[in-house]
C-alpha cells in the first residue's frame, strides 16, 4: 500500500519503525515485479522497422478496447503510479534507470529486480504489429535496463495471440542471461489453458524459463462473467478472479501434464485465494474427472508443483495469524516478494511481512524462492 494512504500514527517515526528500516537495508531482497516505462512515445523506434513508426503515427495501437489513450477505468493516480516517482529529468514514473536506482533499488537493497514491461504488443489486434512491438521491447530492456544494471533482469514479452510468433521470439532469446522469464498477461482472448497458447509453453519449457502471468491485459472479454462493471476498484479486485480462472484452465487442460518442467508465476493478483481454489478444484475433479482424462492427479498437485505467486498487493488481514494460516497452506517456498514499483499500490519491503516469521521463511520470502525459481542460485 502506498505510504500516502497510511494512517498518521503508522507514519510516526517511532524507534521500532526506524529499526525495522535499518534492518531491511541490510537484508538483500528480490523484487519480482518492477515496471519499466518509456520516457517518450518514440523511445522504441530505434528497435522497430520504419514501417511501424509510420503505422503507429497513423493508426496507433488498435487494441481490444475503445480508448485510444489510457484506460477506460481511470486509475487512482496518474499512470497508476506513485506521485513521488516522477524522475527529475522528466518522463513517466519508472522511465529513468538512475532515478529507479536512487529511489528504489539502492535504498531497498534490491539485488534482483525482475522487469515486467506493460503496454507491450500484448492485446494488440494487428498481430504483426504486436510481434514487432514485443521484439522491440525485448531489445529495449537490454539496451536501457539490464545491460546497464546487472541487478535487473528482463522478461521476454510476446505476441500472446500469435503463438507461432511468440514461440519464435522465445527461442530467439533463449539462453540470453538478460532474461529470466516469459511474460504473459492474465486477460487474453481465451483462458490461458486453451490450445492456442500451448506453443508458448512448449518454447518456455524448452528454454528453461518460467512463464509469468501478470494481472491485466486485453482480450475483449468483460472482466466479470456478467459483463462490464462500473469502477476501477472492480477491475483491481477482479484481477484475482481472472487469475483463478486462468489457473483452473491451465490445470484442467492438462498443460502441466504435457509440460512437466514448466513453472508459472502468478504476478500481482494475490495469493490468498489459492487454497480455496485448490480445494474446490480437487473436490469437483473427484466428481467430474471423466470429462478431463488428461488430468491424472488432483489439481492441487499440479498447482503445488508448478505454480509460484508474487506477493504484491500483499493480503493483509487484521489478524496476522490468518495470513500465516494461508501462507502455511500454500507453502513458504512458493511466494516471491514484489513491490510493483513504481505503481501506486506499491508494497513497502520493510512493512509487508508481520513479525513472527522464522528467519528461514523470511529469507525464502524475500530472496531465496526467487533465486530458485529463476534459476539464479
Amino acid at each position: 500500500m502506498n505510504v500516502q494512504f497510511r494512517d498518521v500514527s503508522e507514519q510516526a517515526t517511532s524507534v521500532n519503525a526506524s529499526k525495522a528500516t535499518k534492518t531491511a537495508i541490510k537484508t538483500a531482497i528480490a523484487d519480482c515485479d518492477i515496471h519499466p516505462a518509456r520516457a517518450s512515445k518514440t523511445e522504441l523506434y530505434p528497435f522497430m522497422a520504419r514501417r511501424w513508426h509510420v503505422h503507429l503515427e497513423t493508426y496507433d495501437r488498435h487494441p481490444y478496447q475503445g480508448m485510444m489513450e489510457g484506460p477506460p477505468y481511470p486509475k487512482a493516480q496518474p499512470n497508476a503510479s506513485r506521485r513521488d516517482a516522477y524522475p527529475p529529468e522528466g518522463g513517466l514514473q519508472g522511465s529513468s534507470l538512475s532515478f529507479m536506482q536512487q529511489q528504489h533499488l539502492d535504498p531497498n537493497n534490491v539485488v534482483l529486480g525482475v522487469l515486467n514491461p506493460l503496454a507491450t504488443g500484448q492485446g494488440i489486434r494487428n498481430l504483426d504489429l504486436a510481434a514487432a512491438i514485443c521484439s522491440a521491447i525485448n531489445d529495449w530492456q537490454i539496451e536501457k535496463w539490464t545491460g546497464r544494471d546487472s541487478r535487473l533482469k528482463g522478461s521476454i514479452v510476446v505476441a500472446n495471440e500469435d503463438s507461432a510468433a511468440a514461440a519464435a521470439e522465445i527461442r530467439k532469446r533463449a539462453g540470453d542471461p538478460n532474461f529470466v522469464q516469459v511474460l504473459l498477461l492474465s486477460r487474453n482472448i481465451e483462458p490461458l489453458g486453451r490450445r492456442r497458447y500451448w506453443p508458448i509453453y512448449a518454447a518456455a519449457e524448452e528454454a528453461g524459463l518460467p512463464v509469468g502471468v501478470h494481472a491485466f491485459g486485453f482480450g475483449g472479454n468483460p472482466i466479470t462473467a456478467s459483463g462490464w462493471p462500473s469502477f476501477y476498484i472492480e477491475e483491481m479486485v477482479g484481477h484475482s478472479q481472472c487469475q483463478q480462472t486462468d489457473l483452473a484452465s491451465l490445470v484442467l487442460e492438462g498443460v502441466f501434464e504435457r509440460h512437466p518442467k514448466l513453472k508459472m508465476i502468478m504476478i500481482e493478483a494475490g495469493f490468498g485465494w489459492a487454497p480455496s481454489l485448490c480445494w474446490r478444484l480437487d473436490k469437483v475433479w473427484q466428481r467430474l474427472k471423466s470429462e478431463v482424462p488428461d488430468v491424472k492427479r488432483p489439481p492441487s498437485d499440479y498447482i503445488r508443483d508448478h505454480i509460484w505467486w508474487t506477493t504484491q498487493p500483499m493480503e493483509d488481514p487484521e489478524r496476522r495469524d490468518d495470513l500465516f494460516d494461508v501462507i502455511d497452506w500454500i507453502g513458504w517456498d512458493k511466494l516471491l516478494f514484489a513491490t510493483d514499483y513504481p505503481h501506486w499500490d506499491y508494497d513497502e519491503p520493510t512493512r509487508v511481512l508481520p513479525a513472527g516469521v522464522s528467519d528461514a521463511n523470511r529469507d525464502a520470502f524475500y530472496l531465496g524462492n526467487a533465486r530458485k525459481v529463476y534459476g539464479l542460485s
Binding site: 462493471p229 484442467l252 471423466s290
Partner: protein
C-alpha cells in the same frame, strides 16, 4: 461426522420442471400456442447437464426423468432424513437464457405458479423462491409483487452470471421491491450464458464452468458492495446459493485493501466490506470447498469472523456430499444450531419458527 438437528431450514433445494410442456397448463393461450407451434425445446441449462455427476447424487438419481423432478423423492431423500421444518425451493429451470423479455416473463409466471401448485401445495414444509424475468427489470418487479401475495414465497431468485453485474443501478428497483416486501434476494450458481462464463473467456469444459461459479460470486459481491446497494437498501438481505464460502475471507482482505486505497471512487461505501457482508450477505453451506481436516475447517470459520454467515443447505439433488454427511466434520453444536436454525430464521423474515411441542407428563 457432525449430526444434524431437527427443526432446521434447508435453504437450497432444486425441484425440477420435468419438461417445458409441464408448464403448458400455466401458460396463456398465446404462449401455449407458441410453445407447441414453434416446437420449442426444453430449457435445460448447460450449467447442470442432467447426466453430469454433479447434477445428481448417484443414489438420488431417479430411474426415469430429471433428478429432483419428483416430490416423493425429495421428501424421502432430503426433507425427512434431515428433519427440516422448512425447505426452500430454488428452481433452476433455464428461463434466464432466453432473450425475449416477453417470453421470459410468460415462462417465469408459469414456473412460479407451477411451483406453488405442484410443490408448495403438496408439502407444507416447502417454501418457494420467486424466479424473475431478469430480461426486464419492470416485469421482474411486477412478478415479485404478484407472487409476494402468497406468503409461502420467501425470496427472489437470480443467477450469479447474467447480462450485467448485479450491483448496477439498473437492477435497483428489484432490490427496492424485495426490501419492501421482506424478501431476501437469493443469488444462485448458474449462467444465462449471455456473456462468457469466465472473466477470461470461454473455457473448454463443463468442470471449468462449475469451478468458475466461485469467481463469479466474487465479482458479484464486489459489484454489490461498491455500487452501494446496501447503503441504499440497508434492510436488504442477499443469500449466495451454492457459491462456496471458503474463498470469502481472502476475497474480503483484498477488497478491503483496495477499498482503503481508492475509496474516493465510491464514497457512498461508508462501511468496511466485511461489515457489509456481516449485516447483509449470507451463504448456503453446500458446497464446502475445504479439505476434510476439521482443524483447517475451523481455522476457515475463524477467518470468517462471524458465525452468522452460513445457512444450512443440502443442494438437493446436486452431489455435494455422501450419506448423511451434510455437515462437515468438527462443527461445534453451537455452530450447528446457528447454521441450521438461527441463521436461516434471521435471514428469511417470512419463515416463522414452529413452536416446538414439549412433551409434558
Amino acid at each position: 461426522m457432525t449430526s444434524s438437528i431437527a427443526g432446521g431450514v434447508d435453504c437450497d433445494l432444486h425441484p425440477a420442471v420435468p419438461h417445458l410442456t409441464s408448464l403448458l397448463p400455466y401458460l396463456n393461450d398465446y404462449w401455449r400456442d407458441q410453445v407447441t407451434t414453434r416446437g420449442m425445446v426444453d430449457l435445460v441449462s448447460q450449467s447442470y447437464p442432467p447426466n453430469s455427476p454433479i447434477s445428481a447424487r448417484p443414489d438420488w438419481r431417479p430411474a426415469q426423468g430429471k433428478p429432483g423432478s419428483r416430490l416423493p423423492d425429495m421428501q424421502m431423500q432430503a426433507l425427512d432424513p434431515f428433519k427440516v421444518a422448512y425447505g426452500i425451493c430454488n428452481p433452476l429451470f433455464g428461463v434466464q437464457m432466453v432473450f425475449s423479455e416477453d417470453m421470459a416473463d410468460a415462462f417465469c409466471r408459469a414456473l412460479n405458479d407451477w411451483l406453488a401448485r405442484e410443490w408448495l401445495d403438496k408439502d407444507e414444509r416447502l417454501r418457494g423462491s420467486i424466479v424473475i424475468p431478469v430480461q426486464s427489470v419492470e416485469k421482474s418487479v411486477a412478478e415479485i409483487e404478484r407472487c409476494a401475495a402468497d406468503k409461502r414465497f420467501v425470496q427472489v431468485l437470480m443467477l450469479v452470471m447474467g447480462d450485467m453485474p448485479l450491483g448496477k443501478r439498473t437492477w435497483w428497483p428489484i432490490y427496492a421491491a424485495a426490501e419492501r416486501l421482506g424478501l431476501p434476494i437469493g443469488i444462485h450458481a448458474g449462467s444465462s450464458y449471455h456473456n462468457p462464463p469466465t472473466s477470461v473467456g470461454w473455457g473448454s469444459y463443463h468442470i471449468e464452468d462449475y469451478v468458475a461459479q466461485a469467481q463469479a460470486f466474487q465479482t458479484q459481491l464486489t459489484s454489490l458492495i461498491v455500487e452501494g446497494v446496501f447503503a441504499r437498501h440497508p434492510r436488504l438481505k442477499m443469500v449466495m446459493l451454492e457459491s462456496g464460502f471458503t474463498w470469502l475471507p481472502p476475497f474480503l482482505w483484498r477488497l478491503h485493501k483496495f477499498w482503503r486505497g481508492i475509496r474516493m471512487e465510491t464514497p457512498w461505501v461508508d462501511r468496511a466490506p466485511l461489515e457489509i457482508v456481516r449485516s447483509n450477505i449470507r451463504f448456503s453451506l453446500q458446497p464446502v470447498d475445504a479439505p476434510p481436516d476439521p482443524s483447517i475447517l475451523n481455522r476457515l470459520f475463524d477467518h470468517m469472523q462471524s458465525d452468522e454467515l452460513l445457512l444450512f443447505s443440502t443442494d438437493y439433488p446436486h452431489w455435494q456430499f455422501d450419506g448423511n454427511e451434510v455437515l462437515p466434520e468438527g462443527l461445534s453444536s453451537d455452530l450447528v444450531r446457528k447454521i441450521m436454525i438461527d441463521n436461516p430464521y434471521a435471514t428469511y423474515g417470512r419463515l416463522t419458527q414452529p413452536v416446538l411441542k414439549e412433551t409434558t407428563p
